[in-house]
């Protein structure tokens, strides 16, 4: 069961701040991040990878993206 960070409609750095907060909170496991711009998608994946998390999957979802990141 992954937690969901809904950052749709928010511009940088908000999606990254929210993702990093969640990463700190859960420490490991799986997080699903929803964003609606390519910039946010790039920033979130870059930030997650810098924290040692892996980008498992990116799905184009309607007008945005669903990014699934995880850490074992």
């Amino acid at each position: 069961m992954s937690t969901v960070v809904d950052a749709r409609g928010l511009s940088c750095p908000q999606p990254v701040l929210m993702t990093l907060d969640e990463i700190k909170k859960v420490n490991k496991g799986e997080i699903e991040v929803l964003v609606d711009t390519d910039t946010s998608k790039e920033n979130v994946t870059r930030a997650a990878e810098s924290q040692g998390w892996q980008v498992k999957e990116i799905q184009g979802k309607g007008e945005g993206y669903r990014i699934i990141i995880n850490k074992d």
Binding site: R8, G9, L10, S11, C12, P13, Q14, V16, L17, M18, L20, D36, T37, D38, T39, E42, R46, A47, S50, E63
Partner: protein, 364 residues
């Protein structure tokens, strides 16, 4: 296309875009733009305000094609790569006010972050105080961001909403073509032109427009942002955008050396003054306003080009702020700060702090 799409998001992508600007900004100066002002978003929007007669400072009136190019180049890139997303509604009036005070602060220093970097790369020591102010202002902004400051979500809107600012820019382009500069005249149809001063110095229209289009295209792809560069470094220890502005400074320095535009010193720098405290203070206000609005003035133009109506409002706020700056005597000149420049910096700082402290909206 996906390979090309990702190319600019890489480290080398952002570095090459910074380098591109580092080559062409000093060259635009060589081709006619004012000193250390190959590209300055604040100065150029101020010149546009003058060309439209929103202020009547005779030395800064020219409808700068670079700005038009920035927006339209970004629009083209956004359409080619399917990234045009019309959106609006994240506290538009706040963005307008932030844009206005960002401009007022930048004109106390005499330049936006882009020009601060270009001035620095050409040896203008006063730019160091401006850059320090910029970094301090952005640092203040990151404190608010950490404390929960945000302006709320945007909403998807009609395509035509995203087109409005690009259409305004197209309208400006049409005006410059219908009413070209007439030698020795300050007016041509509805537009104002400068006979002397920085407003009278410009590269040929087509050159300015093409360089603007290219920068707009590349910056949309790479998300180049001079405020984000420092913000991400301070907030996340991320160097991605910072590498872009480093490339800009290094390459602009080399280009300036080659074309003979590197003149180290403090006194008698082009379109600059030596009042260090106010070079610093003006950019604190600008840096904080850019940080609270989520992008440097260039980035706001590129965002507006990809359909962000709130960024478009910020741009209009900057143009109106420029009009206030010159009408109220807030803008500096090479002699020093304007008669009410210091008051403007203090008020601008208070306004930004008010916005930062009070807008901690819970994200629903």
């Amino acid at each position: 296309m996906p390979a090309l799409k990702n190319l600019f998001a890489t480290r080398w992508g952002i570095i090459s875009v910074g380098a591109f600007i580092g080559v062409f900004a000093p060259l635009l100066q060589k081709w006619g733009n004012p000193g250390n002002m190959g590209v300055c978003v604040a100065c150029f929007e101020r010149d546009i305000a003058g060309a439209l007669g929103l202020h009547r400072a005779g030395v800064v009136q020219y409808l700068r094609p670079e700005i038009i190019g920035f927006v339209l180049g970004s629009l083209i890139a956004a359409y080619i790569f399917k990234e045009f997303r019309p959106r609006v509604g994240s506290a538009p009036i706040v963005r307008f006010v932030l844009g206005a005070f960002a401009m007022i602060g930048a004109l106390v220093f005499l330049g936006c972050p882009w020009r601060a970097l270009l001035r620095f790369s050409a040896g203008d020591g006063n730019a160091i105080f401006g850059l320090l102010g910029l970094i301090f202002g952005i640092w203040l902004g990151t404190l608010f961001l950490k404390g929960g400051y945000n302006l709320g979500r945007t909403e998807k809107t009609h395509t035509s909403v995203g087109w409005l600012l690009p259409l305004i820019m197209l309208g400006f382009l049409v005006l410059t073509i219908i009413f070209p500069q007439i030698k020795g005249e300050t007016r041509s149809g509805v537009l104002f032109y400068s006979l002397k001063g920085p407003g009278a110095m410009h590269a040929p229209l087509i050159v300015s427009l093409l360089v603007g289009l290219a920068i707009g295209f590349l910056a949309q792809r790479s998300r180049f942002c001079t405020m984000g560069a420092f913000r991400d470094l301070i907030l996340f220890r991320q160097t991605h955008l910072f590498l872009g502005i480093c490339a800009l400074v290094v390459v602009a320095f080399i280009t300036n050396l080659i074309v003979g535009q590197f003149h180290p010193g403090f006194a008698h720098q082009p379109v600059a003054h030596t009042m260090s405290i106010w070079n610093f203070g003006g950019m604190v206000v600008a840096g904080l306003a850019f940080a609270l609005a989520g992008g440097c003035p260039g980035r706001q133009l590129f965002l507006a080009g990809e359909g962000d109506g709130d960024a478009g409002i910020f741009v209009l706020g900057m143009i109106v702020g420029a009009a206030f700056s010159h009408n109220f005597g807030l803008a500096s000149s090479p002699k020093g700060v304007g008669p009410h420049g210091i008051a403007a910096v203090i008020i601008g700082l208070l306004v930004c702090l008010f916005i930062g402290f009070t807008m901690r909206k819970k994200i629903a």
